[in-house]
Amino acid sequence: MGKAMKEQAILSVKGVTKSFGGLKALADVGFDIEEGEIFGIIGPNGSGKTTFINCITGFIMPDAGHVFFRGKEITGWPAHKIAHIGITRTFQIMRPYYTLPAYKNLIIPLCSPRARKLGGWRGGGRHGDRDTVAVDILEEIGFERDSKVPYKLASTLPTGYQKRLELARCIAMRPEIIFCDEVFSGLSMSEIAGMIPVIEKLKMEGVTLIMVEHRLRELFRVADRVMALNFGEKIAEGEPEEVIEHPKVREAYLGSEEV
Protein backbone atom coordinates (compact mmCIF):
# COMPACT_ATOMS: atom_id res chain seq x y z
CA MET A 1 0.00 0.00 0.00
CA GLY A 2 2.78 2.40 0.93
CA LYS A 3 4.82 1.68 -2.16
CA ALA A 4 1.84 2.06 -4.43
CA MET A 5 1.01 5.40 -2.90
CA LYS A 6 4.52 6.62 -3.39
CA GLU A 7 4.37 5.75 -7.01
CA GLN A 8 1.28 7.87 -7.35
CA ALA A 9 2.83 10.80 -5.57
CA ILE A 10 3.06 13.77 -7.85
CA LEU A 11 5.38 15.56 -5.48
CA SER A 12 7.65 13.81 -3.04
CA VAL A 13 9.76 15.76 -0.57
CA LYS A 14 12.19 14.22 1.89
CA GLY A 15 14.28 15.56 4.68
CA VAL A 16 14.39 19.24 3.82
CA THR A 17 16.61 21.11 6.23
CA LYS A 18 17.53 24.78 6.19
CA SER A 19 19.34 27.03 8.62
CA PHE A 20 19.88 30.76 8.41
CA GLY A 21 23.04 31.47 10.32
CA GLY A 22 22.35 30.05 13.72
CA LEU A 23 18.62 29.83 13.27
CA LYS A 24 17.30 26.42 12.25
CA ALA A 25 14.28 27.19 10.10
CA LEU A 26 13.50 23.70 8.86
CA ALA A 27 14.54 20.34 10.23
CA ASP A 28 13.98 17.23 8.18
CA VAL A 29 10.56 18.08 6.81
CA GLY A 30 8.96 16.15 4.00
CA PHE A 31 5.71 14.89 2.55
CA ASP A 32 4.21 12.99 -0.33
CA ILE A 33 1.44 14.62 -2.27
CA GLU A 34 -1.04 12.72 -4.35
CA GLU A 35 -2.11 14.12 -7.64
CA GLY A 36 -5.28 16.17 -7.49
CA GLU A 37 -5.50 16.49 -3.73
CA ILE A 38 -5.68 19.63 -1.65
CA PHE A 39 -3.00 19.47 1.01
CA GLY A 40 -2.84 21.98 3.81
CA ILE A 41 0.17 23.16 5.76
CA ILE A 42 -0.54 24.76 9.08
CA GLY A 43 1.52 26.01 11.95
CA PRO A 44 2.09 29.12 14.03
CA ASN A 45 4.02 32.09 12.71
CA GLY A 46 7.67 31.39 12.21
CA SER A 47 7.23 27.67 11.96
CA GLY A 48 8.90 27.62 8.61
CA LYS A 49 5.96 27.22 6.26
CA THR A 50 7.01 29.83 3.75
CA THR A 51 10.64 28.75 3.95
CA PHE A 52 9.49 25.24 3.15
CA ILE A 53 7.70 26.44 0.05
CA ASN A 54 10.72 28.47 -0.97
CA CYS A 55 12.97 25.44 -0.67
CA ILE A 56 10.71 23.27 -2.78
CA THR A 57 10.03 25.85 -5.46
CA GLY A 58 13.64 26.84 -5.95
CA PHE A 59 13.72 30.26 -4.35
CA ILE A 60 16.01 29.09 -1.58
CA MET A 61 18.59 26.33 -1.63
CA PRO A 62 17.95 23.84 1.14
CA ASP A 63 20.91 22.64 3.14
CA ALA A 64 19.75 19.07 2.82
CA GLY A 65 16.83 17.15 1.40
CA HIS A 66 15.37 15.96 -1.87
CA VAL A 67 12.42 16.97 -3.95
CA PHE A 68 10.93 14.70 -6.58
CA PHE A 69 8.33 15.66 -9.13
CA ARG A 70 6.67 12.65 -10.72
CA GLY A 71 9.66 10.63 -9.75
CA LYS A 72 12.24 12.99 -11.24
CA GLU A 73 14.60 14.77 -8.88
CA ILE A 74 14.31 18.56 -8.99
CA THR A 75 16.20 19.46 -5.84
CA GLY A 76 18.16 22.63 -6.24
CA TRP A 77 16.68 23.57 -9.57
CA PRO A 78 16.36 27.32 -10.13
CA ALA A 79 12.97 28.82 -9.55
CA HIS A 80 12.10 29.48 -13.14
CA LYS A 81 12.86 25.92 -14.19
CA ILE A 82 10.61 24.57 -11.46
CA ALA A 83 7.86 26.92 -12.52
CA HIS A 84 8.40 25.78 -16.07
CA ILE A 85 7.59 22.15 -15.28
CA GLY A 86 4.32 23.15 -13.70
CA ILE A 87 4.98 23.84 -10.04
CA THR A 88 3.79 27.37 -9.34
CA ARG A 89 3.35 29.40 -6.20
CA THR A 90 1.76 32.54 -4.90
CA PHE A 91 3.55 35.04 -2.74
CA GLN A 92 2.44 35.83 0.74
CA ILE A 93 3.46 39.45 0.38
CA MET A 94 1.69 40.38 -2.77
CA ARG A 95 3.46 42.56 -5.19
CA PRO A 96 1.53 42.77 -8.42
CA TYR A 97 3.08 44.57 -11.34
CA TYR A 98 2.13 47.97 -10.09
CA THR A 99 2.46 50.00 -13.22
CA LEU A 100 0.30 47.67 -15.26
CA PRO A 101 -3.45 47.14 -15.33
CA ALA A 102 -4.76 43.95 -13.78
CA TYR A 103 -5.21 41.99 -16.97
CA LYS A 104 -1.82 42.98 -18.27
CA ASN A 105 -0.35 41.38 -15.17
CA LEU A 106 -1.33 38.08 -16.69
CA ILE A 107 0.39 38.75 -19.98
CA ILE A 108 3.67 38.07 -18.29
CA PRO A 109 2.98 34.49 -17.26
CA LEU A 110 1.28 33.98 -20.61
CA CYS A 111 4.57 34.88 -22.25
CA SER A 112 6.44 32.20 -20.40
CA PRO A 113 7.81 29.31 -22.44
CA ARG A 114 5.42 26.94 -20.68
CA ALA A 115 2.32 28.93 -21.47
CA ARG A 116 3.47 29.39 -25.02
CA LYS A 117 3.89 25.66 -25.40
CA LEU A 118 0.74 24.48 -23.67
CA GLY A 119 -1.44 27.49 -24.16
CA GLY A 120 -2.65 29.39 -21.15
CA TRP A 121 -5.58 28.08 -19.15
CA ARG A 122 -7.99 26.43 -21.57
CA GLY A 123 -5.65 26.83 -24.49
CA GLY A 124 -5.22 29.98 -26.51
CA GLY A 125 -2.94 32.75 -25.47
CA ARG A 126 -0.57 32.28 -28.32
CA HIS A 127 0.70 35.51 -29.65
CA GLY A 128 -2.10 37.83 -30.61
CA ASP A 129 -4.97 36.98 -28.37
CA ARG A 130 -3.18 37.16 -25.05
CA ASP A 131 -5.22 40.13 -23.96
CA THR A 132 -8.46 38.25 -24.44
CA VAL A 133 -7.19 35.16 -22.69
CA ALA A 134 -6.01 37.29 -19.80
CA VAL A 135 -9.45 38.76 -19.34
CA ASP A 136 -10.96 35.28 -19.68
CA ILE A 137 -8.82 34.00 -16.87
CA LEU A 138 -9.75 36.93 -14.70
CA GLU A 139 -13.38 36.23 -15.33
CA GLU A 140 -12.92 32.60 -14.31
CA ILE A 141 -11.61 33.59 -10.96
CA GLY A 142 -14.27 36.11 -10.25
CA PHE A 143 -13.40 39.44 -11.81
CA GLU A 144 -16.54 40.86 -13.35
CA ARG A 145 -15.85 40.88 -17.05
CA ASP A 146 -17.85 43.85 -18.19
CA SER A 147 -16.84 46.14 -15.42
CA LYS A 148 -13.75 48.26 -15.34
CA VAL A 149 -12.15 46.05 -12.73
CA PRO A 150 -9.87 44.03 -14.98
CA TYR A 151 -8.57 47.23 -16.49
CA LYS A 152 -7.75 49.02 -13.29
CA LEU A 153 -4.16 49.43 -12.26
CA ALA A 154 -3.14 46.44 -10.22
CA SER A 155 -1.99 48.56 -7.32
CA THR A 156 -5.45 50.12 -6.92
CA LEU A 157 -7.31 46.85 -6.52
CA PRO A 158 -8.67 45.84 -3.12
CA THR A 159 -6.98 42.96 -1.30
CA GLY A 160 -9.45 40.30 -2.30
CA TYR A 161 -8.92 41.03 -5.97
CA GLN A 162 -5.17 41.19 -5.58
CA LYS A 163 -5.14 37.78 -3.96
CA ARG A 164 -7.17 36.43 -6.82
CA LEU A 165 -4.80 38.08 -9.24
CA GLU A 166 -1.94 36.21 -7.58
CA LEU A 167 -3.81 32.98 -8.09
CA ALA A 168 -4.62 33.95 -11.66
CA ARG A 169 -0.95 34.46 -12.29
CA CYS A 170 -0.39 30.82 -11.45
CA ILE A 171 -3.43 29.63 -13.35
CA ALA A 172 -2.23 31.34 -16.51
CA MET A 173 0.65 28.92 -16.62
CA ARG A 174 -1.51 25.78 -16.83
CA PRO A 175 0.06 24.51 -13.64
CA GLU A 176 0.05 21.02 -12.26
CA ILE A 177 0.71 22.15 -8.71
CA ILE A 178 -0.04 25.48 -7.06
CA PHE A 179 1.50 26.38 -3.71
CA CYS A 180 -0.92 28.86 -2.16
CA ASP A 181 0.85 30.92 0.46
CA GLU A 182 -1.85 32.30 2.73
CA VAL A 183 -4.36 33.16 0.03
CA PHE A 184 -7.10 33.56 2.63
CA SER A 185 -5.28 35.92 4.93
CA GLY A 186 -6.47 39.48 4.95
CA LEU A 187 -9.75 38.65 3.26
CA SER A 188 -13.20 39.25 4.61
CA MET A 189 -15.63 36.39 5.08
CA SER A 190 -17.45 37.18 1.88
CA GLU A 191 -14.22 37.40 -0.07
CA ILE A 192 -13.20 34.02 1.23
CA ALA A 193 -16.60 32.71 0.27
CA GLY A 194 -15.81 33.95 -3.20
CA MET A 195 -12.39 32.26 -3.28
CA ILE A 196 -13.56 28.81 -2.24
CA PRO A 197 -15.43 28.06 -5.46
CA VAL A 198 -12.29 29.02 -7.37
CA ILE A 199 -10.28 26.54 -5.32
CA GLU A 200 -12.84 23.84 -5.86
CA LYS A 201 -12.94 24.57 -9.57
CA LEU A 202 -9.18 24.21 -9.74
CA LYS A 203 -9.38 20.89 -7.97
CA MET A 204 -11.98 19.71 -10.45
CA GLU A 205 -9.65 20.61 -13.28
CA GLY A 206 -7.08 18.30 -11.76
CA VAL A 207 -4.70 20.85 -10.27
CA THR A 208 -2.95 19.80 -7.09
CA LEU A 209 -3.10 22.48 -4.43
CA ILE A 210 -0.83 22.85 -1.45
CA MET A 211 -2.17 25.55 0.81
CA VAL A 212 -0.37 27.23 3.65
CA GLU A 213 -3.00 28.78 5.84
CA HIS A 214 -3.75 30.41 9.13
CA ARG A 215 -7.50 30.43 8.67
CA LEU A 216 -7.98 26.86 9.80
CA ARG A 217 -11.74 26.68 9.53
CA GLU A 218 -11.76 27.76 5.92
CA LEU A 219 -8.81 25.56 5.08
CA PHE A 220 -10.44 22.49 6.55
CA ARG A 221 -13.46 22.99 4.36
CA VAL A 222 -11.40 22.24 1.28
CA ALA A 223 -8.35 20.30 2.37
CA ASP A 224 -8.10 16.56 1.99
CA ARG A 225 -5.06 16.16 4.19
CA VAL A 226 -3.11 18.50 6.40
CA MET A 227 0.39 18.75 7.83
CA ALA A 228 1.39 20.77 10.88
CA LEU A 229 4.74 22.43 11.42
CA ASN A 230 6.17 23.97 14.53
CA PHE A 231 9.61 25.47 14.93
CA GLY A 232 10.62 23.97 11.64
CA GLU A 233 9.63 20.42 12.46
CA LYS A 234 6.72 18.34 11.28
CA ILE A 235 4.56 17.56 14.24
CA ALA A 236 1.53 15.98 12.64
CA GLU A 237 0.10 14.84 9.34
CA GLY A 238 -3.21 13.35 8.32
CA GLU A 239 -6.87 14.15 7.91
CA PRO A 240 -7.80 17.61 9.15
CA GLU A 241 -9.93 16.33 12.02
CA GLU A 242 -7.12 14.13 13.29
CA VAL A 243 -4.47 16.78 13.04
CA ILE A 244 -6.46 19.41 14.86
CA GLU A 245 -6.93 17.05 17.79
CA HIS A 246 -3.25 16.09 17.94
CA PRO A 247 -1.80 17.14 21.30
CA LYS A 248 1.32 18.68 19.83
CA VAL A 249 -0.74 20.77 17.45
CA ARG A 250 -2.93 22.02 20.25
CA GLU A 251 0.15 22.85 22.23
CA ALA A 252 1.68 24.75 19.36
CA TYR A 253 -1.36 26.92 18.81
CA LEU A 254 -2.78 27.23 22.26
CA GLY A 255 0.23 26.78 24.44
CA SER A 256 0.81 24.07 26.93
CA GLU A 257 -1.87 23.59 29.56
CA GLU A 258 0.52 22.53 32.27
CA VAL A 259 0.61 24.74 35.25
Partner: protein, 288 residues
Protein backbone atom coordinates in the same frame (compact mmCIF):
# COMPACT_ATOMS: atom_id res chain seq x y z
CA UNK B 1 61.36 39.50 1.05
CA UNK B 2 61.36 42.95 -0.31
CA UNK B 3 58.28 42.05 -2.27
CA UNK B 4 56.56 40.80 0.82
CA UNK B 5 57.22 43.98 2.75
CA UNK B 6 56.09 46.20 -0.09
CA UNK B 7 53.16 43.91 -0.69
CA UNK B 8 52.00 44.28 2.88
CA UNK B 9 52.44 48.02 2.74
CA UNK B 10 50.44 48.20 -0.47
CA UNK B 11 47.74 46.00 0.92
CA UNK B 12 47.30 47.99 4.09
CA UNK B 13 47.21 51.13 2.01
CA UNK B 14 44.45 49.66 -0.10
CA UNK B 15 42.48 48.55 2.89
CA UNK B 16 42.71 51.96 4.49
CA UNK B 17 41.41 53.47 1.31
CA UNK B 18 38.51 51.09 1.00
CA UNK B 19 37.47 50.83 4.59
CA UNK B 20 35.34 53.94 4.52
CA UNK B 21 33.37 52.74 1.53
CA UNK B 22 32.78 49.31 3.03
CA UNK B 23 31.72 50.78 6.31
CA UNK B 24 29.13 53.05 4.81
CA UNK B 25 27.69 50.28 2.68
CA UNK B 26 27.57 47.73 5.43
CA UNK B 27 25.77 50.03 7.83
CA UNK B 28 23.48 52.03 5.59
CA UNK B 29 23.33 49.93 2.43
CA UNK B 30 24.43 53.07 0.66
CA UNK B 31 27.03 52.70 -2.10
CA UNK B 32 28.89 55.91 -1.58
CA UNK B 33 30.17 56.72 -5.05
CA UNK B 34 31.43 59.99 -3.68
CA UNK B 35 34.05 58.15 -1.66
CA UNK B 36 36.92 58.95 -3.98
CA UNK B 37 35.84 62.56 -4.13
CA UNK B 38 35.85 62.82 -0.35
CA UNK B 39 39.28 61.24 -0.23
CA UNK B 40 40.85 63.71 -2.57
CA UNK B 41 39.06 66.74 -1.19
CA UNK B 42 40.48 65.95 2.20
CA UNK B 43 43.92 66.18 0.65
CA UNK B 44 43.11 69.53 -0.90
CA UNK B 45 41.60 70.84 2.30
CA UNK B 46 44.65 69.95 4.35
CA UNK B 47 46.93 71.49 1.74
CA UNK B 48 44.86 74.68 1.76
CA UNK B 49 44.94 74.93 5.50
CA UNK B 50 48.62 74.28 5.54
CA UNK B 51 49.73 76.57 2.75
CA UNK B 52 47.05 79.16 2.27
CA UNK B 53 45.75 79.62 5.75
CA UNK B 54 49.09 78.99 7.33
CA UNK B 55 48.08 76.59 10.05
CA UNK B 56 50.59 74.12 11.41
CA UNK B 57 50.49 70.60 10.11
CA UNK B 58 48.59 68.79 12.81
CA UNK B 59 45.68 71.23 13.11
CA UNK B 60 45.46 71.28 9.33
CA UNK B 61 45.12 67.54 9.31
CA UNK B 62 42.51 67.52 12.01
CA UNK B 63 40.54 70.29 10.38
CA UNK B 64 40.79 68.63 7.01
CA UNK B 65 39.55 65.29 8.24
CA UNK B 66 36.88 66.94 10.32
CA UNK B 67 35.58 68.97 7.42
CA UNK B 68 35.53 65.93 5.19
CA UNK B 69 33.49 64.13 7.79
CA UNK B 70 31.09 67.01 7.96
CA UNK B 71 30.77 67.13 4.21
CA UNK B 72 29.97 63.45 4.13
CA UNK B 73 27.40 63.77 6.87
CA UNK B 74 25.98 66.82 5.17
CA UNK B 75 25.57 64.96 1.93
CA UNK B 76 23.37 62.49 3.68
CA UNK B 77 21.50 64.90 5.88
CA UNK B 78 20.58 67.36 3.17
CA UNK B 79 20.48 65.39 0.00
CA UNK B 80 20.34 61.66 0.38
CA UNK B 81 17.83 61.63 3.18
CA UNK B 82 15.15 62.79 0.79
CA UNK B 83 15.64 59.91 -1.56
CA UNK B 84 16.32 57.24 1.00
CA UNK B 85 15.19 53.83 -0.07
CA UNK B 86 14.99 54.59 -3.76
CA UNK B 87 18.07 52.72 -4.73
CA UNK B 88 18.25 54.01 -8.27
CA UNK B 89 18.12 57.61 -7.16
CA UNK B 90 20.61 57.04 -4.35
CA UNK B 91 23.14 55.59 -6.74
CA UNK B 92 22.75 58.37 -9.28
CA UNK B 93 22.86 61.07 -6.63
CA UNK B 94 26.03 59.89 -4.88
CA UNK B 95 27.69 59.42 -8.24
CA UNK B 96 26.71 62.89 -9.37
CA UNK B 97 27.88 64.50 -6.15
CA UNK B 98 31.17 62.67 -6.30
CA UNK B 99 31.71 63.71 -9.88
CA UNK B 100 30.78 67.29 -9.12
CA UNK B 101 33.34 67.41 -6.34
CA UNK B 102 36.14 65.82 -8.33
CA UNK B 103 35.58 67.81 -11.47
CA UNK B 104 35.04 70.92 -9.43
CA UNK B 105 38.39 70.40 -7.81
CA UNK B 106 39.95 69.78 -11.20
CA UNK B 107 38.58 73.03 -12.51
CA UNK B 108 38.93 75.34 -9.57
CA UNK B 109 41.47 73.64 -7.44
CA UNK B 110 44.92 74.86 -7.32
CA UNK B 111 46.20 74.45 -10.82
CA UNK B 112 49.68 74.88 -12.07
CA UNK B 113 52.08 73.36 -9.66
CA UNK B 114 52.17 69.93 -8.19
CA UNK B 115 50.74 69.80 -4.78
CA UNK B 116 52.17 67.66 -2.13
CA UNK B 117 51.69 67.11 1.50
CA UNK B 118 54.82 66.80 3.53
CA UNK B 119 55.69 63.49 5.13
CA UNK B 120 55.34 63.17 8.83
CA UNK B 121 58.82 61.92 9.30
CA UNK B 122 61.49 61.92 6.69
CA UNK B 123 64.20 59.42 6.23
CA UNK B 124 64.10 55.69 5.98
CA UNK B 125 65.14 52.68 7.89
CA UNK B 126 66.22 49.20 7.06
CA UNK B 127 63.56 46.79 8.14
CA UNK B 128 64.41 43.11 7.89
CA UNK B 129 66.99 43.95 5.33
CA UNK B 130 64.70 46.09 3.18
CA UNK B 131 64.83 49.84 2.84
CA UNK B 132 61.54 51.39 3.80
CA UNK B 133 60.90 55.03 4.39
CA UNK B 134 59.36 56.07 7.63
CA UNK B 135 56.23 57.44 6.06
CA UNK B 136 55.27 54.04 4.76
CA UNK B 137 55.97 52.44 8.09
CA UNK B 138 53.81 55.08 9.58
CA UNK B 139 51.02 54.15 7.22
CA UNK B 140 51.24 50.51 8.13
CA UNK B 141 51.50 51.18 11.81
CA UNK B 142 48.65 53.62 11.98
CA UNK B 143 46.64 51.41 9.68
CA UNK B 144 46.93 48.48 12.01
CA UNK B 145 46.11 50.61 14.99
CA UNK B 146 43.06 51.93 13.14
CA UNK B 147 41.82 48.43 12.45
CA UNK B 148 42.30 47.53 16.07
CA UNK B 149 40.46 50.63 17.24
CA UNK B 150 37.60 50.00 14.84
CA UNK B 151 37.33 46.46 16.04
CA UNK B 152 37.22 47.55 19.64
CA UNK B 153 34.78 50.30 18.83
CA UNK B 154 32.30 48.04 17.14
CA UNK B 155 32.56 45.33 19.71
CA UNK B 156 32.64 47.21 22.97
CA UNK B 157 31.36 50.70 22.54
CA UNK B 158 27.62 51.25 22.64
CA UNK B 159 27.47 53.35 19.51
CA UNK B 160 29.83 51.02 17.73
CA UNK B 161 27.75 48.04 18.69
CA UNK B 162 24.66 49.78 17.41
CA UNK B 163 26.37 50.36 14.09
CA UNK B 164 27.46 46.77 13.91
CA UNK B 165 23.97 45.65 14.76
CA UNK B 166 22.53 47.66 11.94
CA UNK B 167 25.15 46.31 9.62
CA UNK B 168 24.09 42.78 10.40
CA UNK B 169 20.36 43.15 10.43
CA UNK B 170 18.77 46.49 9.84
CA UNK B 171 15.21 45.55 10.64
CA UNK B 172 16.02 43.97 13.95
CA UNK B 173 18.12 46.94 14.92
CA UNK B 174 15.32 49.31 14.03
CA UNK B 175 12.94 47.31 16.17
CA UNK B 176 15.30 47.73 19.06
CA UNK B 177 14.92 51.45 18.72
CA UNK B 178 18.04 52.34 16.83
CA UNK B 179 17.33 55.27 14.59
CA UNK B 180 18.16 54.36 11.04
CA UNK B 181 18.58 57.91 9.73
CA UNK B 182 20.80 58.95 12.59
CA UNK B 183 23.04 55.96 12.10
CA UNK B 184 23.22 56.66 8.40
CA UNK B 185 24.48 60.16 9.13
CA UNK B 186 26.97 58.80 11.63
CA UNK B 187 28.14 56.09 9.29
CA UNK B 188 28.63 58.55 6.47
CA UNK B 189 30.51 60.86 8.80
CA UNK B 190 32.76 58.04 9.94
CA UNK B 191 33.18 56.71 6.42
CA UNK B 192 34.11 60.10 5.03
CA UNK B 193 36.36 60.72 7.99
CA UNK B 194 38.11 57.45 7.28
CA UNK B 195 38.52 58.47 3.66
CA UNK B 196 40.04 61.73 4.74
CA UNK B 197 42.21 59.98 7.27
CA UNK B 198 43.51 57.56 4.66
CA UNK B 199 44.21 60.47 2.33
CA UNK B 200 46.21 62.28 4.95
CA UNK B 201 48.30 59.21 5.58
CA UNK B 202 48.86 58.19 1.99
CA UNK B 203 49.04 61.39 -0.02
CA UNK B 204 52.42 62.42 1.40
CA UNK B 205 53.84 59.44 -0.46
CA UNK B 206 53.07 61.06 -3.77
CA UNK B 207 51.40 64.20 -4.96
CA UNK B 208 47.81 65.35 -4.88
CA UNK B 209 46.32 64.63 -8.27
CA UNK B 210 42.65 64.87 -9.07
CA UNK B 211 42.68 61.56 -10.96
CA UNK B 212 43.41 59.86 -7.66
CA UNK B 213 39.81 60.52 -6.77
CA UNK B 214 38.68 58.15 -9.50
CA UNK B 215 41.41 55.63 -8.82
CA UNK B 216 40.48 55.47 -5.16
CA UNK B 217 36.87 54.88 -6.07
CA UNK B 218 37.85 52.10 -8.44
CA UNK B 219 40.03 50.43 -5.85
CA UNK B 220 37.45 50.77 -3.12
CA UNK B 221 34.84 49.21 -5.37
CA UNK B 222 37.20 46.46 -6.47
CA UNK B 223 37.99 45.58 -2.89
CA UNK B 224 34.31 45.61 -2.01
CA UNK B 225 33.31 43.37 -4.85
CA UNK B 226 36.06 40.87 -4.21
CA UNK B 227 35.67 40.84 -0.48
CA UNK B 228 31.92 41.02 -0.57
CA UNK B 229 29.91 44.22 -0.47
CA UNK B 230 29.61 45.27 3.10
CA UNK B 231 31.94 42.76 4.66
CA UNK B 232 34.71 44.32 6.71
CA UNK B 233 36.73 41.14 6.96
CA UNK B 234 36.29 40.61 3.27
CA UNK B 235 37.55 44.09 2.52
CA UNK B 236 40.77 43.45 4.40
CA UNK B 237 41.33 40.06 2.84
CA UNK B 238 40.58 41.42 -0.62
CA UNK B 239 42.99 44.30 -0.07
CA UNK B 240 45.71 41.85 0.69
CA UNK B 241 44.96 39.76 -2.35
CA UNK B 242 44.95 42.73 -4.67
CA UNK B 243 47.82 44.46 -2.93
CA UNK B 244 50.15 41.51 -3.09
CA UNK B 245 49.15 40.70 -6.65
CA UNK B 246 49.87 44.25 -7.70
CA UNK B 247 53.33 44.25 -6.20
CA UNK B 248 54.15 40.89 -7.68
CA UNK B 249 53.13 41.87 -11.19
CA UNK B 250 54.86 45.19 -10.84
CA UNK B 251 58.07 43.41 -10.08
CA UNK B 252 57.88 40.60 -12.57
CA UNK B 253 55.98 42.02 -15.47
CA UNK B 254 55.64 45.74 -15.60
CA UNK B 255 54.54 48.61 -13.48
CA UNK B 256 51.46 49.44 -15.50
CA UNK B 257 49.48 46.63 -14.11
CA UNK B 258 47.78 48.16 -11.12
CA UNK B 259 44.50 48.75 -12.80
CA UNK B 260 44.58 45.58 -14.83
CA UNK B 261 44.93 43.55 -11.67
CA UNK B 262 41.93 45.27 -10.22
CA UNK B 263 39.92 44.61 -13.35
CA UNK B 264 41.00 40.99 -13.64
CA UNK B 265 40.28 40.36 -9.99
CA UNK B 266 36.81 41.80 -10.37
CA UNK B 267 36.05 39.73 -13.44
CA UNK B 268 37.34 36.53 -11.88
CA UNK B 269 35.30 37.18 -8.75
CA UNK B 270 32.19 37.88 -10.75
CA UNK B 271 32.57 34.66 -12.64
CA UNK B 272 33.45 32.42 -9.74
CA UNK B 273 31.67 33.84 -6.75
CA UNK B 274 29.87 37.02 -7.64
CA UNK B 275 28.91 38.00 -4.17
CA UNK B 276 32.53 38.12 -3.11
CA UNK B 277 34.61 36.15 -0.66
CA UNK B 278 32.58 36.86 2.42
CA UNK B 279 29.59 38.15 0.56
CA UNK B 280 26.39 37.78 2.45
CA UNK B 281 24.23 38.77 -0.45
CA UNK B 282 22.99 35.43 -1.55
CA UNK B 283 22.10 37.03 -4.82
CA UNK B 284 18.37 37.27 -5.01
CA UNK B 285 17.58 34.94 -2.18
CA UNK B 286 17.13 37.51 0.51
CA UNK B 287 14.10 39.18 -0.84
CA UNK B 288 11.59 36.38 -0.87
Amino acid sequence: MELLIYGIINSITLSLISLGFTLVYSISRLPNFAHGALYISSGYLVWTFLNRVGLPYLPSILLGIGLTSLIGAGIYRFILIRIRGMEISEIIATYAIGLAIIEGLRWGGLRGMTFTLPSFVSGSVRFLGVGVDYQRLFVVGIGLITFLLLYLFTHFNKIGLALRGIAQNERAAMMLGINSDMTAVISLAIGSGLAGFAAVLILPLGSIIVETGYNVLIFAIAVSIIGGLGSWGGAIVASFIIGLAQILTEAFISSHFQMVIALLAIIVTLILKPSGIFGRQKELEERV
